[in-house]
Structure formats: structure tokens, C-alpha cells
């Protein structure tokens, strides 16, 4: 859960990019890192723990300082999880303390079973941490829309966004930075909205 530090006037939140292997989670972070517009010095270094074949081994980590809300500096920590099925323990570790999730799905037809499996794995891992998916803000990003063999968005909505509450979803081409900022801004908006609803007015 987010950390609020009244002394240093900081709000720290954690956003995790989740999804099947080779779906573009790390690419999302790289694009944010490369293209985000910040005042000098408050964009963190992208830390990547990857294998030699560019697969995330533990997590990627990107700290960014965003806008100031009522005098509070908001520090965002963006994490990715390893997509490969065998790294499930690691995924659970990274989900600890999560405030918002961007689920990056691979739009190619043949990846649909992996998308569904990964989403179910997300629900299971949250349950293991005693978190209910319905309580965590999340958005869906249907990545790789530029490939020829992609499934229609409606079909992906049916597969992945078919719960009681439908969440925002975005088509994306992460390596061209399309959909990347849209997803990030939407999840930010949703999780700040959640804080507003939860928070009680503070004495000054």
C-alpha cells in the first residue's frame, strides 16, 4: 500500500506491469523512461535484472517523480514481473505492496491462452497476498497491435475484461510508444481516485 510521509511531504505508490512472457512489459518501462517529460533530475534510473536473452529475471524497476498534489511530491515506482511461468515465486514477491496494475496482454491470436492463463495467475497471486483483484485498480493494455495476426479488440475484451466491473483498456504498440502513456495515466488516475475515496480529511 502506498506510503504517505507527512514529514517529507511525499506520497509513494507502486505500479506493477503484469502479463505473459514476451508481451512487452519491459518495453513499456523503457518507453516511459525514454520519453517521459520531467523536470531535470527527477526521473530515476531504469534498473533491469534480465537474462542474456532479454527476459526479465527478477523485475525491472523505474522510479519517477510526478506532479505535486497539494504540496505532496508523488513518487511513482514502476515494476515489471518476469512473464515466464516458472518465475511465479518472483512475481508474488514483486506484487507485494502493489497499488495499481497494468496488465499487458499480447494481441496475437496464438497468445490468447497465455494471456488468460497469466491473468488467472495474477488473481491467484493476489489472493495469496490476501488481496482481491476487485480492490486493486488495474487497466488492460492490448499490446502489439501493429502485428498482422492480431485478435480483434472485442474478442480480447471478451476474454480478459469480462468481469462485474469493466476496466479501461487500451490498444498499444509499446515499441512505438503507442498506448504506453495512455495506460500509465489512466492507472494513475484510478489509483489516486481510490485514495480520495478512502481518505478522511486531515487536520491541518
Amino acid at each position: 500500500m502506498a506510503i504517505i510521509n507527512q514529514a517529507t511531504k511525499e506520497l509513494q505508490v507502486k505500479i506493477v506491469y503484469y502479463g505473459p512472457a514476451m508481451g512487452g512489459k519491459t518495453t513499456n518501462l523503457v518507453q516511459v523512461h525514454d520519453h517521459v517529460q520531467t523536470a531535470a533530475g527527477n526521473k530515476g534510473k531504469l534498473v533491469s535484472l534480465a537474462t542474456s536473452s532479454d527476459r526479465t529475471l527478477f523485475f525491472d524497476f523505474l522510479p519517477i517523480e510526478a506532479m505535486t498534489i497539494k504540496g505532496f511530491k508523488t513518487k511513482f515506482q514502476l515494476y515489471t514481473v518476469p512473464g515466464q511461468v516458472i518465475y511465479n515465486t518472483t512475481r508474488q514477491l514483486v506484487l507485494r505492496g502493489v497499488d495499481g496494475i497494468v496488465f499487458v496482454a499480447d494481441s496475437q491470436y496464438e497468445k490468447m491462452p497465455e494471456n488468460v492463463e497469466s491473468f488467472q495467475n495474477l488473481i491467484d497471486n493476489l489472493n495469496a497476498l490476501k488481496i482481491n483483484l476487485a480492490e486493486v485498480p488495474y487497466v488492460l493494455q492490448y499490446n502489439k497491435r501493429d502485428l498482422p495476426n492480431v485478435a480483434p479488440v472485442e474478442y480480447m475484451e471478451f476474454l480478459l475484461n469480462n468481469r462485474d466491473v469493466q476496466v479501461p483498456s487500451f490498444g498499444g504498440t509499446a515499441h512505438k510508444c503507442e498506448g504506453v502513456f495512455e495506460s500509465l495515466n489512466m492507472i494513475t488516475r484510478m489509483l489516486l481516485q481510490k485514495f480520495i475515496n478512502q481518505s478522511v480529511p486531515q487536520y491541518a
Binding site: G44, A66, K70, K75, F195
Partner: protein
Amino acid sequence: MATLPQLIEEDVRRLDDVLREFLVQADATVALVVDKGGFLIAHQGDASDLDVTSVGALASGAFMASQTIAGLVNEKNFNHIYQQGERASVFMRNVDEHCLLVVIFPSKTGVGVVKFYSTNAVNRVASQLQAARERDPAGGLDLSELNVADPQGFFRKKDAKQETI
């Protein structure tokens, strides 16, 4: 799942005092209190050339990985990690369910002294966090003036002209 309480000035001041005192006792360089989710809560010492945010995130990852190994070998008492280097060493120790203490110290300082004095520091950090938790278990931040429906992005892309350079 609220892991951490809202920290007020007094909490942070006390945490800083504990860490400062500990640094002097143990002759260490930097001490951090890190949430197990990867958030940096407090730090003291000379961290001018150190990316403490990344250290916090990586340390909590490493620590939690070791705790998971402990679970796999049915061991409940993996409460610290020690990495010895040529010049600098790192010592991490469990504080409570939610936090850990990370200490960076010159290798010429023995780990024994760090370990010894960390016991007291860890207890004091834990009791301060406990006090904060009891004070205001459901504390939040009043963001009521924030217009989240504002279509303007929180994060903005650099414009195309800048990007092509």
C-alpha cells in the same frame, strides 16, 4: 491491505534519530529503513553518491527472495542477509512484518559490531512504526482538491520534435 501507517513528522524524526545513533555506534556509512514492498521510508548517512531509491527496491527484493528460500527449506529464522565486499559490505535485517533495515558499511568495520548494534536499532524502529500504526490505523491523504477527471495527463511524452533529436 494497508502495510504502513501514515508517518508524521515525529515518526520520521525519531526514525532518523535511531538511524543516526546506530551509524555512529556501528561505524557504518548509510542506514535505510525500507518497506518490504520496496518503498524507502527513512535513510541516514552519507548517501550523496548512492541511488537510495534503487538500493531500497533491490534490497527488499533480495531480502524477500531469501525469505522465500527460508520458507522452501522450512526455516523460520532467516532474519538477516550479509554481503561482504572488498570495500563496502551490506547487512539487511528484518524489522517487523512490513519493514527491514539495510546497512551499508566499510568492509574494514566488522559485521559483528553492525549486527550487535542493529538489534537495538531494529527494536526501536519497530516500536516507532507500531506507535504510528496504532495512532491512525486508517489514515489517508486528503486529495479532495485534485481533479482526477482532468483529461490532462499526469505523465507527458516529450513532444515529437524533441524525440527526433
